[in-house]
């Protein structure tokens, strides 16, 4: 108990825990759709491509979210243009666009005074979350979360069968755009905690982990955020006591949990399925003997 309570004596730790828990939950919910649509690379791309937007927003004093949304849109548009109007395939288009925009962001950081602040965007600055940061993360996180939950059935339909969505009069393009917009918002939320480089982990690992544990999408939407939140809080406590980088520790914890689930999940796990196979073989051998 003492171990859990001690860090809470520091305000910065409380803020770090609240921010991380929130970011972890929102990212995890979104990740359920990303892993099923096959948009993991897109999540990677958008979360990197928002960097110049965030830096520019910092320079002109606009909200980070606005800059991030604009650059997410630019990134997605550029990816689409390169893919559709040249012989370059989508994965290459994504790689070209996001790394170029990310580099632009790094260049902008290098020419902007007050470098320390902006470098935190890249690797996260969990323990330096200020009260205004916290409020921004809270607002964006709650907005993204509420929209995701309210529109979860449409988004799942879009992920599963966009043609049917079209056939019943919904617009798959609009649903796709909504999901990308929410991806941009969520990226900004997660920037604070783990930084641009590691956001993608929070956008993929929880959904992938939950996918190995259940055959029901509605349950994924519960399992993913719970795992993600628990891992994130555990990661922060670990980083407090081991004196390691907090954002990286959060991601590392999620990765370890994924590995455990991958090996031991009852139905999808590597060991579980191997055992079941061996059991079936043995039963078959007995039956023929």
């Amino acid at each position: 108990m003492e171990i859990l309570l001690e860090p809470l004596g520091y305000d910065f730790m409380v803020r770090a825990l609240v921010t991380t828990a929130l970011a972890a939950v929102v990212c995890a919910v979104l990740s359920c759709w990303l892993v099923l649509i096959g948009w993991s690379l897109m999540g990677d791309a958008v979360s990197h491509a928002v960097l110049p937007g965030v830096v520019l927003a910092y320079i002109v004093g606009a909200p980070f979210a606005l800059g991030a949304l604009v650059f997410a849109l630019i990134a997605v548009t550029l990816i689409g243009v390169v893919r559709n109007t040249s012989r370059v395939k989508e994965d290459a288009a994504i790689g070209i666009v996001f790394s170029s925009l990310f580099a632009l962001g790094l260049v902008l950081i290098s020419v902007t005074p007050s470098q320390t602040d902006l470098n935190h965007i890249i690797f996260g600055n969990l323990l330096g979350v200020s009260v205004p940061d916290l409020i921004q993360v809270l607002v964006l996180g709650v907005v993204a979360f509420v929209i995701l939950i309210l529109k979860r059935r449409d988004l799942t339909l879009y992920a599963f069968d966009p043609t049917h969505a079209h056939a019943i009069g919904l617009s798959p393009q609009r649903l796709g755009a909504l999901l990308l917009g929410l991806l941009a918002l969520t990226s900004v939320v997660a920037l604070q905690t783990v930084g641009v480089v590691l956001v993608v982990a929070m956008l993929i690992i929880p959904g992938a982990t939950a996918y190995l544990l259940t055959d029901r999408f509605s349950r994924m939407l519960v399992i993913a955020p719970v795992i993600s939140a628990v891992c994130s809080l555990a990661g922060i406590y670990l980083s407090y006591y081991l004196d390691t980088a907090s954002g990286a520790m959060v991601v590392l914890t999620q990765g370890v949990v994924f590995a455990v689930v991958y090996l031991f999940s009852p139905r999808q796990g590597l060991i579980g399925t191997r055992l079941a196979k061996a059991r079936r073989r043995k039963a078959a051998a007995l039956a023929t003997a």
Binding site: L36, L157, F160, D161, H166, G169, D215
Partner: protein, 263 residues
């Protein structure tokens, strides 16, 4: 005079330089089952996409029950049964979840299911005899059951026009008969059904009429006439039914692609 269920007038579609449909014309009366026959690349999927309004034709018009495709979609009249290979069978949804997706057009902003929605889904599941499998993950069904699950989605939707893309691919003989019976029942209830296939042997039992497609509609008539070997030969330049080879050692039928299908 009632308007035709599906009216396609002189529709032309290009993909870049490639012409997928060339002044294709098709009129289908309500409550009929029509088999759309053609090789891969003959424009079958393009015609489907035009009818559903996913592609705007370069020329020509499409009407569903006298309405524009977008109007017909909004009213929930168009049901679609996808080709097996277009579906992610690992997707974590139950059979019931998939059928419920047919109701989304009838539901509010968050697509919360009402009692009526649940009743419609149960009824549709019973109709296709998948009631006992409602809780299964969709990938855990047999080939024929998978198709029936998507037909149930169209039934729950209340579709008056149904488009089925290769409904007999990967389906065994018995399931094929079940699906055929089910579609005939739906047609006798007034549903208009367009079935795309390059598998010929199932058509005469299923369809009221058949269409030969090769970028344009080459022939439209009763299946036994359209599927005459000489017509197919004329249209495709090969003898698809191999009737001249009674001593052929290999059992099975050739599809229009020249692939051999064993039964």
């Amino acid at each position: 005079m009632t308007s035709p269920a599906i009216l396609v007038e002189n529709v032309t579609v290009h993909y870049g330089e490639v012409r997928a449909l060339d002044s294709a014309a098709l009129t289908l009366d309500p409550a009929r089952i029509c088999g759309l026959v053609g090789m891969n690349g003959s424009g079958k999927s393009t015609l489907f996409k035009v009818i559903m309004g996913m592609i705007r034709p370069d020329a020509g018009t499409v009407r569903i029950n006298g309405q524009s495709p977008s109007r017909a979609r909004k009213e929930g009249g168009i049901g679609y049964v996808p080709q097996s290979e277009d579906v992610d069978w690992q997707f974590p949804l139950s059979v019931r979840d998939v059928v419920m997706m047919g109701r989304y057009g009838h539901q509010g902003f968050t697509r919360r299911a009402s009692k009526a929605d649940r009743a419609a889904v149960d009824e549709a599941l019973d109709r296709v005899e998948l009631g006992p499998y409602a809780g299964r993950q969709i990938g855990q069904l047999s080939g024929g059951q998978k198709k029936r699950a998507f037909v149930a989605r169209g039934i729950a939707q209340g579709a008056t026009t149904m488009l089925l893309d290769e409904p007999f691919a990967g389906v065994d003989k018995r399931s094929e008969a079940t699906i055929t019976r089910l579609l005939r029942e739906l047609a006798s209830d007034g549903c208009t059904i367009l079935v795309s296939t390059h598998d010929l042997h199932a058509l005469p039992q299923l369809c009221d009429e058949a269409v030969l497609l090769m970028h344009k509609v080459l022939m439209h008539g009763p299946p036994d006439v359209v599927l005459q070997p000489e017509n197919l030969a004329m249209a495709f330049g090969l003898d698809v039914l191999e009737r001249d080879q009674p001593d052929s050692k290999v059992s099975g039928t050739r599809t229009l692609d020249g692939k051999r299908v064993n039964h």
